[in-house]
């Protein structure tokens, strides 16, 4: 082929055709981007320019039954960082600057900043800034785009170290939990109830977080607010707890011999929790839980978060004699007038079982044996009743299973008896029955179980499931949810048995081991207990209930002082103070310096104190 023409038109045509093909390709690509992929790319453009600043909604308030605020919120300033979309900026100067202001390690801050850049999300660098730091940080804002201060609602517990284990605290979630919770609208830095009722009623208290949708430029500078979703505060809880009783229980426990113990105060007519105290405790505002692992005790029971009232298990000691007596009397295995001579010890075969009073109590019947808690009397009556029956009655009184109070970590305790042993293929001996008769051996109970037990005795046989929620007050104004009492069981005893039990419990206070609890103007009945403890001093128990004369019992308590020695020494005075406060008798002890009457304006109207101590 020869091309002699000075103007090879075919070649020019080829250039035009080639160019047309290229234009066509570009056109198709435009069609693809602007018509077909439009939705995706529009979404990408939106993601580019918008940044959500989430605002943690104020959690619902928690009130005691009289409107005392137990948990509220306060404004908090947090330092946040919005990463630049360019991602190329050197973050080191910013990290240095912030580290100097916040007194933290620059490497840590740099890591957070880089994480935020990588994830393209907002990161909280510091919370709860003191005003002075806040003002200095606000000066950084124009210098370093992306740094900003936001106001948020922070959980605040006005009473500090008050009902710590019951209320629990709010904290940052575990990254593993977040994987589960992210679908429910949680963010990685969302506060979440970690323990106590904050955890149990998380969904009620949480509310819905607000968000400000901001327009940002490529440097991460906030340009303007696009729109905002207001937060919706969480619903409030009104507890059945009486702050005054709770406070006295806690302060008395703290002042006890060991400072470790638990007290559960129930309304025996409904199972409503009036106080649920466990010491040692911690200040909810100081986040004791965030101490580094190295400084924390290895044994979980040594943690201040450990709730002895529901998770601590102890031998019931002599308080268990209530169950032994109920079983033996009700089944007719012995009568109230049957007598036993107590020489200070009891011989079973070649074994010697001591009474706590080595000198001996002398001749004992049901009234004196119970009132003085004579061990020998109960060794004998326990053997007459038989361990199988005692185990059965212990079970019917709710021992060996959790009360299912709405709190995490409750222990079921441990039954002790031939049936339990048979299930474990272990032999049962009479010696075990002797131990069981005074609440020793392998029997383990929690203070709340004992409180339910003594409440059932007080009300004549109904095991109310303990509950601490009185009602839920909805933030949107809907009618309150009112918690109804729930039965967890019934102890069916003959009326004569109940009478014998009630009179014996009353004798304990009037003339027996529990004399120290007696308060003029109140009918108080109870039982002391001393739980032998393989390590250290005996634990001290006292279970009791009280009524105004002529009225049914309205307050029941179970007090445990670890290593407190004899029940009448350490546990009984605590119960006495609790009753005094519950019934408003006498001069309140020194704890009441705390002004529990300071009610917030926003307190929901208190309902008639249903079944409360008059």
């Amino acid at each position: 082929m020869r091309e002699s023409s000075p103007r090879p038109r075919a070649r020019l045509d080829a250039v035009v055709v080639l160019f047309s093909v290229a234009i066509g390709a570009l056109f198709l690509r435009l069609f693809q981007l602007q018509i077909l992929d439009r939705a995706n790319l529009t979404a990408a453009a939106e993601r580019n320019r918008t940044e959500m600043i989430y605002q943690t909604a104020p959690r619902g308030f928690v009130y005691d039954r009289n409107g005392v605020v137990l948990a509220t919120n306060r404004p908090m300033f947090s330092l946040i960082y919005l990463p630049s979309h360019k991602g190329l900026a050197d973050l080191r100067p910013l990290a240095q600057e912030l580290a100097a202001q916040l007194r933290r390690d620059p490497a840590d801050i740099l890591a957070s900043l880089e994480e935020a850049t990588r994830e393209d999300s907002v990161v909280r660098l510091a919370e709860n800034l003191p005003p002075r730091v806040m003002f200095r940080l606000s000066e950084l804002r124009p210098i370093y785009p992306g740094v900003d201060l936001v106001m948020e609602a922070e959980r605040y517990y006005p009473l500090g170290d008050f009902a710590s284990q019951l209320i629990g605290y709010v904290g940052r979630m575990d990254p593993r939990d977040w994987i589960k919770l992210r679908s429910e609208g949680y963010r990685i830095d969302s506060p979440v109830g970690r323990t106590g009722l904050e955890k149990v009623f998380e969904s009620v208290l949480r509310g819905r977080d607000g968000a400000i949708r901001m327009e940002v430029d490529a440097q991460g500078r906030l340009k303007r607010q696009l729109d905002r979703v207001p937060w919706q505060p969480g619903d409030s809880l009104v507890l059945t707890v009486n702050a005054a009783i709770q406070e006295v229980a806690e302060s008395e426990l703290r002042r006890s011999i060991s400072g470790r113990g638990a007290a559960v105060v129930l309304d025996p007519r409904s199972g409503a929790v009036l106080a649920l105290a466990s010491t040692p405790d911690f200040n909810l505002n100081e986040l004791a839980a965030s101490a580094p692992p190295s400084e924390r005790p290895a044994n979980p029971a040594d943690l201040p978060e450990f709730d002895r009232a529901i998770s601590g298990t102890y031998a019931p000691g002599s308080t268990f004699k209530i169950v032994v007596g109920a079983a033996g009397l009700n089944e007719g295995r012995f009568a109230v007038n049957d007598t036993v001579f107590c020489p200070g010890y009891f011989k079973l075969g070649r074994h010697l079982f001591w009474c706590y009073d080595h000198h001996g109590h002398g001749l004992m019947n049901w009234w004196t044996g119970f009132a003085h808690s004579c061990d020998v009397y109960f060794y004998e009556m326990g053997l007459r009743t038989g361990a199988a029956l005692i185990e059965k009655y212990a079970e019917s009184f709710g021992l060996g299973r959790p009360t299912r109070i709405a709190l995490p970590g409750e222990s079921p305790g441990q039954l002790f008896g031939p049936r339990t042993f048979a299930a474990e293929h272990r032999p049962w001996y009479d010696g075990d029955t002797v131990n069981l008769s005074i609440g020793q051996g392998g029997l383990l109970v929690t203070p709340i179980q004992m409180a339910v037990l003594i409440s059932a005795v007080a009300n004549g046989g109904t095991l109310w499931r303990p509950h601490y929620i009185d009602r839920i007050h909805y933030a949107d104004g809907g009618p309150d949810y009112v918690q109804q009492p729930e039965k967890m069981g019934e102890v069916d005893l003959k009326p004569s048995t109940w009478n014998d039990l009630h009179e014996a419990l009353s004798l304990v206070v009037s003339s027996g081991t529990g004399r120290a609890v007696a308060i003029r103007g109140l009918d108080i009945s109870g039982k002391t207990g001393t739980a032998q403890n393989s390590s250290g001093r005996d634990h001290s128990w006292f279970v009791a209930y009280a009524a105004r004369p002529g009225q049914p019992p309205s307050v029941a308590v179970a007090v445990l002082v670890e290593n407190g020695g004899f029940g009448d020494v350490s546990a009984v005075p605590i119960a006495r103070d609790i009753f005094k406060v519950a019934f408003g008798i006498g001069k309140p002890p020194s704890w009441a310096e705390l002004d529990l009457r300071a009610k917030p304006a926003a307190a929901p109207p208190a309902r008639d104190s249903r079944g409360g101590p008059a």
Binding site: V15, V16, F19, I23, L30, N40, L41, T42, R49, D217
Partner: protein, 447 residues
């Protein structure tokens, strides 16, 4: 419809479609530039500069239009000398911007000689080829044209403005092609240039996809061959043996086998490879990143790929009708890089939508088509060559720039002529088009 005589004469002499396309591009470009610079700190200043450049450019259009283009053929040597001097001057006293020394600063104005060099190369190369019309099929003409061009391209590479230099290659090949040189000779040159350019490309592919290739594996072998290692030597020697063997076989088979043909083939291939190795070694890291971003856009969303990605997001989110002027979030909030210059097309795509973006393609198509038609109808071969060169130049710059914005081409820092902000580019583009308009105007006139 009756036209007056004068009107009819003007209709014939001015290409209305051509003028409309140019005017349309200038209007769309100005709107986009004004919108793109709005959030910038010195928006007013930039706008003033743009419209001043536009005014100067229009003046240059009429200057080119009113000036007989044969002057350029007569003064081709002077123009060429001026080009070389200008490029030497910029290397000596130019100011640095964006990492290359490509600006001449005259205090009140600064300009990019490379833009002017491209127009001057078109004018002088056209003269060179026109004068060798009779021996156009000779290889010496091709080599001569290259000898004319290489100093210009080399000086621009020296700045080093890789992207602008890249736009010269299709221009040179296009002009040689349109001048009617032998296709075989042209393909030899193109194979050579293709090999040279594909070496860094293949090298980058291997680096991106097989970053930890073990010694002995094939990606490692390729990389070794491309950086001038032992494998290169083996490849060259093996190639020589293979070509020699092929030649022996051809002789044995009594095929017409000229030893010089085989030698030439070998030299082209080996030379292309060696030239590629040299180019690859001299690439700047950011230039290599651009290759990498094109090869694997997902792997690096912060650097060059970020720009491409943001540009595609801008264009795609514009949809059919666009977000409206000043309303593009990608451009107004700074997510689009270089938005008033290299990525102006993405601003058009975002704010004027599919119709705006496709409209620019249509206007450009009209422009290039009319340039080709002007070439076809030119009175003489010089006019034909100049307009062919301009058609190729504008066409290629559109394809490269728009291709970059939509993600079909690697990132090259070149503006979209007539649309992007940039005084030198705008003035030179309008001057070039003025010259083309002059070619059109003079098509029926006798010399």
């Amino acid at each position: 419809m009756a036209l007056s005589h004068a009107e009819a004469a003007w209709r014939g002499r001015l290409d209305m479609t051509f003028l409309a396309a140019v005017a349309g591009l200038l209007v769309v470009g100005s709107l986009a530039v004004v919108s793109a610079v709005r959030p910038m700190p010195h928006a007013g200043h930039i706008e003033i500069r743009h419209f001043a450049a536009l005014a100067v450019g229009i003046a240059f259009f009429f200057f080119g239009f009113g000036f007989d283009y044969h002057v350029f053929e007569d003064q081709a040597k002077t123009i060429y000398a001026a080009t070389i001097l200008m490029l030497l001057a910029v290397l000596a006293v130019g100011t640095i911007s964006h990492g290359h020394r490509s600006w001449l600063n005259f205090g009140f104005l600064s300009f990019q000689p490379a833009e002017l060099a491209r127009l001057f190369l078109v004018l002088s190369l056209a003269a060179y080829l026109d004068r060798r019309e009779r021996k156009i099929k000779k290889f010496s003409v091709v080599l001569g044209a290259l000898a004319v061009s290489i100093p210009v391209v080399g000086l621009i590479l020296k700045q080093p403005d890789f992207s602008t230099a890249l736009t010269f290659l299709p221009l040179i090949f296009g002009m040689l092609f349109c001048a009617g040189v032998s296709l075989a000779q042209l393909s030899v040159i193109m194979v050579f240039a293709g090999l040279t350019l594909s070496v860094p490309f293949i090298y980058t592919v291997c680096q991106v996809f097989y970053p930890h290739a073990q010694a002995g594996s094939w990606p490692h072998g390729i990389v070794d061959a491309l950086i001038g290692g032992k494998t290169t030597v083996v490849l060259l020697l093996g190639g020589a043996l293979a070509v020699a063997g092929l030649w022996r076989w051809a002789k044995w088979a009594r095929l017409r086998a000229d030893a010089s043909l085989f030698l030439a083939c070998y030299l082209v291939l080996a030379g292309g490879l060696l030239a590629g190795i040299v180019v690859n070694r001299r690439l700047k890291p950011y230039q290599r990143d651009r290759f990498a971003a094109f090869v694997a856009p997902k792997q690096d969303l912060e650097g060059a790929a970020y720009h491409v990605r943001q540009s595609q997001i801008a264009i795609g989110s514009g949809g059919v009708w666009g977000k409206g002027l000043f309303e593009g979030t990608q451009s107004q909030l700074g997510f689009l890089p270089e938005r008033h210059t290299d990525f102006i097309y993405a601003v058009i795509g975002e704010e004027m939508g599919f119709w705006g973006a496709a409209g620019v393609l249509l206007l450009y198509f009209l422009l290039v088509w009319r340039l080709a038609e002007t070439a076809r109808g030119a009175r003489d071969r010089y006019g034909y060559l100049v307009c062919s060169g301009l058609a190729v130049m504008f066409g290629f710059e559109l394809v490269l720039n728009v291709g970059m914005c939509v993600g079909l081409m690697p990132v090259a820092g070149i503006p979209l002529p007539l649309v992007s902000y940039g005084g030198s580019s705008l003035v030179i583009a309008l001057w070039s088009l003025g010259i083309a308009a002059n070619v059109h105007y003079k098509r029926y006139l006798l010399a």
